[in-house]
């Protein structure tokens, strides 16, 4: 990289901003300044990603020689190739025999999807009860929920570790899926969204003879699709990136998810940064794809509690 690249990026940012973003009735100089600052911030934020994408395709001999990609005249299979991915996917020898990288990807996908599905049901059921039923103890439960969010999660790790041990859940996915299966944050999120569903709709369904489970599943939940999307994305992200749980509870190498494995790889591939960087790039892709498809819902879900409450 050199300063010229940054400069070009910033120019591109300004062009783009002025092309589509010029608001009426503002001084041009202010607008220029604003987009200059924003483009600089965007360039700083994006550069590690650009660097990562370049790094994984470079041969290990030139990885550090060029900051981003080598100049076009230097391109050949000795400088730009897929060696890092080949090394990553060729499997590693462990005490349990050969373990392949795609196994970790599958583990991560399974863990993140399973926990998202489970907590989607549990959190929305809880949120529905709190939003649409009047019953004794409702206020007390909500106060308890708020109180429980004040305690740092790490406080519970030592005692939960003891419990998992005595349940015989060590080295099983039950240890990762069950304790966090109902998120308090998610219940509040769904309560907030479900309060907007008109009571008359629920009453009408009751008069038609629908049972409570049918009303929740078929009538109420389809009305809060955007919030459901946001919740799934937030939960998926959290579980995809979670580290301490699997690090503490899972011992078998072939059962580990990506964060734990890639953290090990720093120590394993000390001379081949490209290999664990390729793994990191692969680990970033699924959340990025999900995020780009659910962007609007995500932001709405994230800020709904903060702005209204």
């Amino acid at each position: 990289m050199n300063t010229i690249h940054i400069f070009l990026l910033i120019l591109a940012g300004i062009y783009f901003a002025l092309r589509w973003g010029l608001p009426r009735g503002e001084q041009k100089a202010t607008v220029y300044l604003r987009y200059l600052l924003l483009s600089m911030a965007a360039a700083l934020i994006l550069s590690p990603f650009v660097w990562l994408v370049c790094a994984v395709f470079k041969d290990k001999d030139v990885l550090m020689q060029y900051t981003f990609l080598p100049p076009l005249s230097q391109w050949s299979l000795d400088t730009i190739n897929l060696d890092n991915f080949v090394a990553l996917f060729s499997g590693e020898d462990t005490v349990e025999g050969k373990v392949y990288f795609w196994e970790y990807v599958i583990n991560s996908l399974f863990l993140a999807s399973a926990s998202t599905t489970i907590s989607l049901f549990f959190a929305s059921m809880g949120g529905y009860a709190l939003a649409k039923y009047q019953f004794n103890g409702r206020k007390a439960i909500m106060a308890f929920m708020v109180g429980s969010m004040m305690f740092p999660g790490m406080l519970f790790l030592a005692p939960v570790y003891k419990m998992i041990f005595s349940f015989g859940w060590m080295d099983t996915y039950l240890a990762l899926l069950v304790p966090g299966a109902c998120s308090v944050f998610g219940m509040f999120l769904f309560r907030q969204a479900l309060m907007g569903v008109p009571d008359s709709l629920i009453e009408a369904a009751r008069i038609d003879g629908a049972n409570e489970l049918y009303i929740y599943l078929r009538i109420v939940m389809p009305l809060v699709r955007p919030m459901t999307g946001a919740f799934c994305l937030i939960t998926f992200l959290g579980n995809w990136n979670s580290f301490i749980g699997p690090q503490v509870f899972i011992q078998t190498q072939s059962k580990l998810p990506l964060p734990v494995v890639l953290n090990q790889y720093i120590g394993v591939y000390t001379q081949q940064y490209g290999v664990f960087l390729a793994g990191t790039l692969i680990a970033i892709i699924p959340p990025a794809v999900l995020f780009f498809s659910l962007q609007k819902e995500f932001v709405a879900g994230l800020t709904s509690g903060a702005v209204k409450g």
Binding site: G21, I45, A129, Y133, P159, K162, S166
Partner: protein, 291 residues
């Protein structure tokens, strides 16, 4: 008006999973962690009552004070440098047009999608002396820093950690400020302008009071989150850093409970952490109420 009059049983059934899970995995461990903090354990099976000596040990351990100091520095910088920066970016974005705003928002937010462990791994290479992106970029911008060993020099570890956290969270907190700014009453802003208020006066007297609830929320959440920092330094430094220079409170808890196997002392550290967080966020909320 609530719709639910139908049967007192239905809401309890819907809340069933939460109540069961919270009983087993919140209330029981909560009580157990109190019990545990007064016991010495050797692995998960054996334990002996030791009174307050776990707390005495932690409070007498210089590593604990290093951890508290590091975590506190990190939190203070997060709140006093990073949050104003987030607010500044949000204000820059707020007056832009819809499409441009969305693209910039997406870009600035994107690091938050990447988990702390992955960010740590990425930046462990980006901070490589002489060849790393950060070192080269710094050299080109301010002609210093090319050879600095950010992750091996104890006095540079915290600055490095703060830089990474800035990269990761500045856009995340911006989202909250942006949402708040979009709810600011446009009529009041116009009125202030017509009355001849400078843009600084407008910001201080019109905008800030209206985004105050969200700002308090972000400050408190950011403090609570910062005090629980662990995965980022753990991956970035491959542990606690040279001379514990990157040790955080949760890092100290983790090493004690799961690397040394002393769950009792781990629980004691957990309670000290809970106490620190409780005291600081209470003070923040009190101050915010008074003003």
């Amino acid at each position: 008006m609530k719709a639910g009059k139908k049967g007192p049983l239905a809401p309890w059934l819907f809340l069933g999973p939460y109540l069961v899970l919270t009983g087993i995995f919140f209330i029981y461990p909560f009580l157990n962690s109190i019990w545990l903090s007064f016991h010495q354990t050797n692995g998960p099976r054996s334990s002996v009552y030791v009174g307050l000596s776990n707390f005495a040990f932690v409070l007498g351990d210089p590593a604990f004070f290093t951890a508290v100091k590091n975590t506190t520095i990190y939190t203070i910088v997060s709140v006093t440098v990073q949050l104003p920066l987030s607010l500044g970016l949000a204000m820059l974005l707020n007056s832009g047009k819809g499409r441009v705003r969305n693209v910039f928002r997406l870009i600035l937010f994107s690091p938050h999608l990447v988990g702390q462990i992955f960010v740590g791994i990425l930046f462990a290479v980006i901070f490589t002396p002489r060849y790393g992106l950060f070192n080269i970029g710094l050299q080109e911008l301010i002609a210093w820093g090319l050879e600095e060993r950010w992750l091996a020099n104890p006095s540079l570890v915290m600055p490095a950690l703060i830089v990474v956290s800035m990269w990761m969270y500045v856009g995340f907190n911006m989202i909250y400020f942006l949402a708040a700014l979009q709810n600011v009453d446009q009529g009041l802003l116009d009125a202030a302008r017509v009355d001849g208020a400078s843009s600084w006066q407008t910001f201080w007297h019109v905008t800030l009071p209206q985004i105050k609830p969200v700002a308090i929320f972000v400050v408190v959440m950011s403090t609570i989150g910062s005090y629980q920092l662990f995965e980022l330094p753990y991956a970035l430094l491959g542990g606690n850093g040279p001379n514990n220079s990157g040790l955080t409170i949760v890092g100290y808890l983790y090493s004690t409970a799961f690397e040394t196997g002393d769950l009792g002392t781990g629980a004691a550290i957990g309670w000290l952490l809970a106490l620190i967080i409780f005291v600081i966020s209470t003070i923040q909320i009190k101050i915010a109420r008074v003003e």
